[in-house]
Symmetry: C2
Subunit: 261 residues, 2 copies
DNA sequence: TCTGCTCTGTAACCGACAACACAGATAAGA
DNA sequence: TCTTATCTGTGTTGTCGGTTACAGAGCAGA
């Protein structure tokens, strides 16, 4: 199950396809992104300050494994005990209520780091994480994190920054949910999803999500989401196809997202 | 305006009244909490690991000032450039939309630390903070934080833990808002507000908030809040008086807070 | 090509909560 | 004590979005 982090990993779609590499590295495409000995970490912003040697050291203590579509990474019964680095595939982090309704906290793309909640000593942590594609993760144990990462100021700062950003994004979502009508929230969410994406020369961005998945992020139903999406489409702001959304006019969407009624 | 952090500060209500001191110190009431030379920091969980000398060192670089009721601590025009420690009084952190509606992110009590958003390099930070009572804050600059706090693993870990907890609480609120009806959210919020409070021998806890302020936390209107509060009162779960709420049956409230309809 | 699944569009009904509109109640000051 | 501002209680009406219920559409495998 737990295989060494390396080797068979960096296959096809990592280079141009989805731009999950940190920006510094994009501007310097000298590194061929192939058979480097440490695949887990080299592309992760968190470790951007480290030398190759240091990276390798950390990499050695980060075993990795694959998850099949639908497989749970953690849950109530399998509480978090590690920090995860997403290498390939996609992971959905979500919560469920007693009666089965769910709200998804995030849909993570390669390069993302998650599982920070282990820091708070997993009291109540009702988060689930599931692979929504064939996925490869590598994981660092709590003690490794505390001893090797937080004790290194360069990384400690980045961790804090990362958590701070998460707080900022959650606060944004919270006020959106509380104060804005569905259409604005939808626009806002789509723009947010588009952000990390590289946009084509035309300014278009493609998001690979179904209405159902979007609804999970919005905290609303699939039906309402479809309705709102049709609305956006009829305004010419997006184009749709099965499981795929193309944003045609990001500025207009951004404007819409600050509408209050 | 900016006075040295000390001297005239530790007056009446710090000791028993509101239990904002970290638990370790409560169990050890040897320190009389009077004219110690470092008032800002000694009671803050973040610095619990530090020796008195180290505390004093940090204290020296933390100027403090008072804010009058209604005064803004930061806003758009006065963006965050520091980490604040709340010594006395209360602060409300909130966001506003274009049309003037507001959602309050938190109401902070003495001992709280806030302003972590400076970590993310204040791009979009639409948070406001206002004193809702006569308030005394002391502040640490960004550079101080990065150089002296994050570089110290003991503090770095606590900062990360603190941010992690904030993430957890925000995720909780987000799902509450998305998936639970008002009454459950109200119960949940009251219980959350009661948590840090010491409860009397009868199990009762008092919360000093108006319906208006509660509504701000709930993301709803004052009227709806009043209605729901009446409901709780008629069930015998709370007792009310002007600006004051007494929780009579925390377990029952907790149960209510997980209701889904 | 046919079968079946998942994804998307639409429509009628209904319910929780917002908006608006007052009235009484409590506290602070003059 | 009287005045005034701030809180709190409650009713009426409107609406956004949830619910339920289908139907068509794209795609996958037999």
């Amino acid at each position: 199950m737990i295989s060494e982090c390396g080797a068979n990993v960096v296959a096809a779609p990592l280079s141009g396809q989805r731009p999950w590499a940190p920006t510094q590295r994009e501007s310097n495409p000298l590194v061929p992104a192939t058979d480097e000995p440490f695949n887990c970490l080299s592309a992760v912003e968190l470790f951007a300050d480290l030398s190759p040697d240091e990276l390798a050291a950390i990499d050695r203590m980060a075993p990795s494994r694959t998850y099949r579509t639908g497989e749970l990474v953690f849950s109530q019964s399998q509480p978090v005990h590690a920090l995860f680095v997403l290498q390939s595939g996609r992971v959905r982090v979500f919560r469920v209520t007693e009666d089965g309704k769910a709200l998804t906290m995030a849909i993570l793309e390669p390069g993302a780091v998650f599982g920070e909640m282990m820091l708070v000593g997993q009291r109540m942590y009702d988060n689930y994480a599931e692979a929504i594609e064939e996925t490869l993760l590598c994981e660092l144990s709590v003690t490794d994190v505390e001893q090797h990462l937080l004790s290194d100021p360069r990384i400690a700062i980045r961790i804090s920054r990362h958590l701070g950003e998460q707080v900022a994004r959650l606060e944004e979502r919270l006020t959106d949910l509380a104060l804005r009508p569905l259409l604005a929230r939808l626009a806002s969410t789509l723009v947010r999803l588009a952000e990390p994406q590289r946009r084509s020369r035309t300014g278009h961005v493609t998001i690979r999500l179904t209405h159902e998945q979007l609804a999970g992020l919005l905290g609303t139903t699939r039906e309402s989401t479809s309705k709102a999406m049709s609305d956006l489409a009829s305004r010419g702001l997006i184009r749709q196809s099965r499981g795929r959304i193309v944003l045609l006019d990001v500025p207009a969407m951004t404007a819409l997202s600050t509408a209050t009624a």
